[in-house]
Amino acid sequence: MRLPHQLFFVIVGGVLTPVIATAEDLGDAEAGKVVFEKCSSCHQVGKGAENKIGPHLNGVFGRKAAGLEGFNYSKSLTRAGNSGLEWHADTLSDYVENPRAFASGTRMNFAGLKNPEDRANVVAYLRGFSDNPSDIPEADPTAKGTDHSIDPEILAIQGDPEYGAYLSNECTTCHQIEGGDEGIPSIVYWPAEDFVVALHAYKEKKRPHPVMQMIAGRLNNDEIAALAAYFNNPE
């Protein structure tokens, strides 16, 4: 069963409390191991894997398409790689769904995995053979993030100052609560409206700054409002 991955709030004893919807796994890696049997006549993965009919799939996440030295790729896939195609959870899934539709001229002679669950599972299985983000922080994600655009009818905690104060914990790692602004701007006593406009601009990636785009990207409207209320007058 699949639920929309959102933050739900339930009312228990008259108090609104968030129920955490956890991030969604890429898929079921164990099940993906079984799906991979369809691939294993051509592709190896894991310790000692080598190029066979197809290239080995160790470290495939984050790699440029046709990016493995010493493997004779089709012109089609080489061109796609040179045009910027990289292998990530989404592109791999699209490719194995229908290889020829994705890259006409690919040498991968495979009808495709039509079942989305099979694709998700095999992608999750393969993810285990690429870099681990705890060692290489820039390595590909291992889960899908929660969608933080939330229907305001479901969520009605507008400007909860306590929640804003809690959320501000993440901000104060960099933005000093005392208002210092060397290198990183001060955000205390910022007018609430400006705050909301700025955070939404980061969220929509209209304002440039990778850290802020990332942080704002997972704040929903009410969380941004709560933060704005808090920083407008902390304590």
Partner: protein, 420 residues
């Protein structure tokens, strides 16, 4: 999200934590004991004390009176920070937050009576124990090196006197001498740390000893921000840095601290400075508390509680949580999630959903800063990476300068978040 039994129980647990009656305690206020006053422990102690507004007794056990942050200690090596710039005391936590700061070593945890034994005698009882002991080194990880060699071949991976010693050795290198680093295997504290250090050492040598060489023996085939560092080494320190990765025998290393030699893949080299960064494990108190499995302490992603004991939490480098790198930023981020959960469990305060993030800035040369960062969420199994970014090669000088200045701002921010 796939709804399964585990997810359901996990979510229900969070709700229950928010509404369960405060723990019934034998006497007085609930007691939180924090072991370790770094990015995880100091932050956790401060947040529990600050947000509980006196409802919880907080004790912080930390042997050092002056704490030197490991982050930015490379910048001291490079001459961009004074040692005093990265030194912090616990005075504000004691005076303004009412935290009982105990400068002693925690030498044991009795999980039955729920108390922490101190080296100086006596013990401190707890209702909830937060362990944030950082790292220790795996014995025998580098052939020829043990802790008794650390004055000849410093690790400088816990900041303070070791960092000072390494800097003095670098400054005393003979003209055209050789600096060697033995880099650690995964997982270890601060993935880009050794390579930022190489950059900072190169920066110092370029100014004072431009014919000197740097050799790095690395057991790994690749490392964080590799293309950024290699671009920087080639742009700023051409020909100075020789990185020997796993493919070229970088993992086959022994050292002789008496003779000051390093043997890489059978080839012995006489060196002038040798920075040995051995394989790491959780700070020893985690092992003594019986919450480790292998080298690290497994924790639940939603609140950083130990998988071995629900009344013990493990933060930062010592924890095994999933995808977050071992960094000061990560520890600080985890500490806030943990503090919120601990407070909820002890006083019935609201428990909000866990959010984790990390950014690691590194300095390659003056005004040439780069960064890598990500956001993480709790899944039933681990803290999972869901989004991220990294600086790009070929960025312009203004952006790199802004990134460096941002790191200075972050340092000011996180240290005031830790120490008040």
């Amino acid at each position: 999200m796939k709804l399964n039994r585990r997810t359901f129980i996990g979510s229900a647990g969070v709700v229950a934590a928010g509404f369960s009656a405060p723990m019934v305690l034998a006497q007085g206020k609930p007691r939180v004991v924090v072991v370790g006053g770094g990015a995880g422990g100091a932050t956790a102690a401060r947040y529990v004390a600050k947000d509980s507004k006196g409802e919880i007794d907080v004790t912080l056990i930390e042997p050092s009176r002056t704490y030197y942050t490991c982050f930015f200690s490379n910048l001291y090596l490079g001459g961009f920070q004074e040692l005093s710039d990265i030194a912090h005391s616990y005075g504000t936590l004691a005076a303004d937050y009412g935290i009982n700061v105990v400068h002693d070593w925690a030498v044991g945890v009795d999980r039955d009576t729920k108390s922490v034994a101190l080296a100086g005698g006596g013990s401190v009882p707890y209702d909830k124990l937060i362990l944030s002991p950082g790292i220790d080194f795996v014995g025998g990880a580098v052939e020829g090196w043990d802790l008794s060699s650390q004055n000849k071949m410093p690790h400088a991976y816990k900041a303070g006197s070791q960092t000072e010693l390494l800097k003095a050795q670098i400054m005393a290198m003979p003209e055209g001498g050789t600096f060697a680093m033995v880099a650690p295997p995964n997982p270890y504290r601060c993935p880009p740390g050794p390579y930022e250090r190489v950059s900072m050492v190169a920066h110092v040598l370029k100014a004072n000893n431009p014919t000197a060489k740097i050799i790095v023996a690395d057991p790994k085939p690749k490392f964080s921000k590799m293309s950024l560092f290699q671009e920087g080494w080639s742009n700023h320190y051409e020909g100075m840095v020789d990185w020997i990765g796993e493919d070229f025998g970088g993992g086959s290393v022994s050292v002789n601290p008496e003779a000051m030699t390093v043997t890489i893949d059978g080839e012995e080299t006489k060196v002038d400075v040798c920075n040995v960064i051995p394989a790491m494990k959780a700070g020893r108190i985690a092992e003594m508390a019986g919450v480790t499995e292998g080298n690290w302490a497994p924790v639940n992603a939603a609140d950083m509680s130990s998988k071995a004991d629900p009344d013990i939490y493990v933060l930062g480098d010592a924890s095994q949580q999933g995808d977050m790198p071992k960094s000061g930023f990560s520890a600080n981020s985890q500490a806030k999630v943990c503090a919120n959960a601990v407070r909820g469990a002890l006083t019935g305060s609201k428990v909000f959903p866990a959010k984790f993030s990390n950014t690691c800035w590194s300095l390659i040369d003056a005004n040439d800063g780069v960064k890598v960062g990500a956001t993480y969420e709790a899944t039933p199994d681990k803290i999972a990476k869901v989004d991220g970014f990294i600086s790009q090669t070929g960025e312009n000088a203004d952006l790199r300068k802004a990134t460096y200045e941002e790191s200075l701002g972050w340092y000011a921010g996180i240290t005031s978040d830790m120490f008040g």
